[in-house]
Symmetry: C2
Subunit: 213 residues, 2 copies
Amino acid sequence: MQIACVLFEGLTALDIVGPYEVLRGLPGADVRFVATAPGEYRTDNGRLALVADQALADVPAPDIVVVPGGRGEAGVRDDPTAIAWLQQAHTTSTWTTSVCTGSLVLGKAGILAGKRATSHWTALEVLRDFGAEPTLERVVFDGKVVTAAGVSAGIDMALRLVAEIAGDEIAQQIQLTIEYDPQPPFAAGSPARAPAAMVAFQRERSRFRQPAT
Amino acid sequence: MQIACVLFEGLTALDIVGPYEVLRGLPGADVRFVATAPGEYRTDNGRLALVADQALADVPAPDIVVVPGGRGEAGVRDDPTAIAWLQQAHTTSTWTTSVCTGSLVLGKAGILAGKRATSHWTALEVLRDFGAEPTLERVVFDGKVVTAAGVSAGIDMALRLVAEIAGDEIAQQIQLTIEYDPQPPFAAGSPARAPAAMVAFQRERSRFRQPAT
């Protein structure tokens, strides 16, 4: 089972490393880190580079596609090569997935039209531009398209995907291997649970338009 | 605040990317990915390379040290350069931390003697070899030494560390930014909660010795 993990300049590292660390445990997993061209791609703050071993063109028909988010997603949306690859890959994929604002890239490729989808909570409204129905859930399955909410949600998405593909027991084995028994110190991880002033503050600072209040 | 994220061949990517994605949000965070020599370091399955921009010697006195785990930790324990750097860095660090089997590296450097510490659950017994008290908790603070359990536990550790350093509100802001509102699909993320047969299976396959039953 070939799994294409897409990299680009300005990605958020955890968006892709979370799903990678889970999906690699699928029986027969063949993970490929890909980008427009092979090479090093830096995260949104420039402090970490991840390496794409292959070009998108080298991996034309993966079984699973994972598109992360991060500030650099805007550049991917404007890259005809990346969008054309994604459109083509989606025609043969078993699962096309995104984490965080990676869903905006799926949207630009036309993959979310008429579908329920999620994104980083600050970017949800933008999904409407692509004909999607913004859905404030952590993981959204709609047919073979699976979108996860912000950053850390890719771990939950990938575990659910493994359960769909290989069954609950394999997913549980992986969960035990990565010791995923989360104990967040605060209940601040979603706009529904974080203090209202904090949510408002992050909405104001967001580069995305926010819903009318 | 300088934060040294240590890389090595055969690391587990999520061990270091989880804390990185949290600690980068500290006010004044200056994150450096470091290794014995600058360059690309591959994960334990060889499918992803992360880039160290600097050598350990270039970052001799970080405020925070983060040592990840993964199969490659055995090589780090046998690397006198890495161990000497860690011992020296620990003399001036504000916090010396590890995720997963990264604690075995701290142990080899003599940093855990007489301390409570944790590790990946399959590696806990090995901590005794370094004079540490194995502690089956997700995050263990003992003075300035902070150890996290397996892989995904680094996210929880880093959030607690941010709260200690910069206060609860900053930690909550970061938690909201990475949308860390975990919804694991199963209750299988710790040996205490996973099915007993699954725990036994993973103990049998472990490269580490297991406690007498």
